[in-house]
């Protein structure tokens, strides 16, 4: 009746990134309690080796779609793209943290151990077809984030943010789990691909509807869609900026990967249930996120509300998944996600290189006259703000173009209208920052505290990479990237 699972070499290739990260986290944990190997240098070495080994393993992962251990582990292009994205963001965040004034408290045995474990949870999440595994991976990532948020820079403010995130995140996890339980109760299967097959005859059933809606609420919490966004501004503001950058990007990558698998695959026959609910979430996020961002003076809080609005744009594209042809919306979501991740990392890198131990809550006024003292940083920030606002030669414009195009193909004219209004509002606060940087007189000394002005630094490397890829993605690369994402699109839409 039961057969033991066949553990093949292909399984090990697929599981390698996760296994490497878990092994690295164990080493870092032991280092933390040892006396001779707990120096910052030793711990950094382990962290870098682990991350790069995991990146290599993820790049070498088989791209043909296969599943192991009853769907717990998937290989395939989407899983590979998701894992590579998360690992590269982690490497970039570690580079930026290295030169930040919180580096000493970040590169500690226990923090790096938890950091690596939570990344492994994210990788588990993006490469799974099984509801139980999805939930375990999500909790691994979330609980690690709650702790790191409050622990790297332990002060009242960050602990308050961590507690808020913890309580709301736990409620969201419970709601998501209840949704999963109802899906299992009605479909009799834990596998997403099994749900696709089991759903059609019972698609009119109340349990299934409730399960899908609760799942949507749980994912909406993690994506910080309005009205489930209350935790995001506080958590983003209070965390050390490197962790904020990590949270703002990786969480979106992992949740959207799951959302694609759910809404393009498992819930495709339920679109009349989740689609109206998601439209409400998308409209509220785009409008409320942008309006709230208008009135923020704290830079990180402004970026937090802007990330809520960007979640809204991605939700617009998810709404377009209710169409019969899901290829364009899926690719639009992935492209938008790519541009959002690169631009966010860049924007937070600018914030990080301006922060000092005395002032780590920068306001928009603190950036006044940046162009006179640090023209490179001001130019980079301008590119990122234009891209966030969706202005032409940047990636943000192409991303919004694809998203609105996908929505228009699905006759979602109202949503596109709302999206364009939102973009117009957003231009105001993005360009206000640019104006401040170029037109106002400098108020802050902008001393070279963390990243030496002009000299080579890893933060500047991340910044340069982000600027170049934002411009390339906005001009020559889009068609190429969209072609490459076609594999993921067909994989998700397996019915």
């Amino acid at each position: 009746m039961f057969s033991f699972p066949e553990i093949t070499s292909a399984f090990y290739y697929t599981a390698a990134p996760v296994l490497i990260l878990v092994a690295g986290s164990m080493i870092a944990l032991l280092q933390g309690v040892s006396t001779g190997y707990s120096s910052r240098r030793a711990i950094e070495t382990v962290a870098w080796i682990t991350t790069f080994a995991a990146i290599v393993a993820a790049a070498a992962m088989p791209t043909e779609h296969a599943d192991y251990l009853a769907g717990g582990l998937l290989s395939g292009t989407l899983a590979r793209v998701g894992q590579l994205a998360i690992l590269m963001i982690s490497a970039a965040v570690m580079m930026m943290m290295r030169e930040h004034h919180t580096a000493q408290s970040f590169f500690r045995g226990e923090v790096i151990s938890i950091f690596l474990m939570l990344i492994s949870g994210m990788l588990v999440l993006v490469s799974s077809d099984d509801l139980v595994t999805l939930f375990v991976g999500l909790e691994l990532a979330s609980i690690g984030l709650y702790v790191i948020l409050g622990y790297v820079q332990p002060n009242r403010r960050s602990q308050e943010g961590a507690i808020k995130y913890f309580i709301l995140g736990s409620v969201a996890a419970a709601i998501l789990l209840f949704g999963f339980a109802l899906l299992y109760a009605s479909c009799g299967t834990m596998r997403l691909s099994g749900i696709v097959a089991a759903l059609p005859p019972i698609a009119g059933h109340g349990w299934v509807h409730l399960g899908a809606l609760l799942t949507l609420v749980g994912l909406g919490f993690k994506l910080a869609l309005v009205p489930f966004h209350m935790w995001a501004p506080d958590a983003y503001e209070s965390a050390p900026t490197g962790i904020t950058a990590f949270m703002a990007t990786t969480v979106k990558v992992m949740i959207l990967t799951v959302a694609l698998r759910l809404f393009a695959g498992a819930f495709s026959s339920l679109s009349d249930v989740w689609y109206p609910a998601l439209i409400i979430l998308a409209v509220l996020s785009v409008i409320a996120g942008n309006i709230m961002a208008l009135v923020q003076s704290n830079l990180k809080r402004m970026l937090a509300y802007s990330s809520i609005a960007h979640s809204g744009y991605m939700a617009v594209a998810i709404c377009a998944l209710s169409a019969t042809d899901t290829s364009l919306p899926v690719r639009a979501i992935l492209f938008y996600l790519l541009t959002y991740v690169i631009v966010s990392l860049g924007a937070f890198a600018v914030v990080m290189s301006l922060e000092t131990p005395d002032n780590d809550q920068l306001t928009i006024d603190d950036l006044s006259g940046l162009a006179k003292k640090r023209p490179g940083l001001a130019f980079a920030m301008t590119v990122f703000m234009l891209s966030f606002g969706g202005m032409p030669p940047t990636a943000g414009f192409i991303g919004k173009f694809f998203v609105f195009n996908a929505a228009l193909n699905n006759h979602l004219y109202g949503l596109v209208f709302v999206g364009i209004i939102g973009s117009t509002i957003s231009l105001f606060y993005y360009l206000r920052l640019v104006v401040r940087m170029y037109m106002a007189q400098p108020v802050a000394p902008f001393g070279a505290v963390n990243t030496a002005n002009g000299r080579f630094s890893l933060t500047n490397l991340v910044l340069g990479f982000a600027v170049v890829s934002t411009l390339l993605l906005g001009t020559v690369l889009p068609a190429e990237i969209m072609d490459r994402l076609a594999g993921s699109a067909t994989e998700v839409a397996r019915k």
Binding site: G72, E110, I114, T133, G144, V147, Y151, P154, N155, R156
Partner: protein, 182 residues
């Protein structure tokens, strides 16, 4: 025999009612020790529900792990906190909480009536009956086989999750000299 047919169903409603009652007491009691004791009662009756589904292994684990180990730890923690007894009498109740309760109940009624309207033609096997479980090798055997074959990957990842939670607890509980008030 005819009358006995209804006994399991009646038992289900009695147990469910007791679960609801003790859950309300967990959140309503002012004294945390009372809350913890009602949590034991609550988890015990959930175990009774499992037993009624012939899931005896799960029922036993529920009593041993939750009602036994975890809640006892809760009680220890509460005792270490050494709360003042005069603020802990009676039941907590405020107008705001009553409103939340009312809204939740309204939502429950709406969702429940919608769920009850649709016919329960679900594909879940549900309770297989004790004979079928016996045929498959017994509860413990089936659970163990599933856990170490089909669900091996989430099982192993859950162990990483628990390790992370332990490390996190130690980090939070340890006295940190770096904490500042700003």
């Amino acid at each position: 025999m005819e009358a006995l047919y209804f006994v399991p169903e009646m038992l289900f409603y009695v147990i469910s009612g007791l679960i609801l009652l003790s859950s309300i007491m967990v959140v309503a009691a002012r004294n945390p020790v009372t809350s913890a004791i009602f949590l034991v009662v609550d988890l015990f009756f959930v175990a009774a529900l499992y037993a009624q589904l012939d899931a005896h292994f799960t029922a036993a684990i529920q009593v041993l792990v939750y009602a036994g180990a975890i809640v006892v730890l809760f009680v220890f923690v509460i005792m270490i906190l050494n709360l003042k007894p005069d603020a802990l009498r009676g039941i907590r109740f405020s107008l705001g909480e009553a409103l939340v309760l009312l809204i939740t109940l309204a939502g429950f009624v709406i969702v429940g009536s919608e769920l009850a309207r649709t016919a329960p033609d679900l594909t879940t096997p549900g309770n297989l009956g004790s004979a079928a479980i016996e045929m498959a090798g017994g509860n413990t055997y089936v659970v163990a086989m599933r856990m170490f074959t089909a669900f091996l990957w989430p099982f192993e990842m859950a162990s990483v999750l628990i390790l992370l939670a332990i490390v996190a607890c130690v980090m939070i509980a340890k006295k940190d000299k770096r904490v500042t008030k700003s």
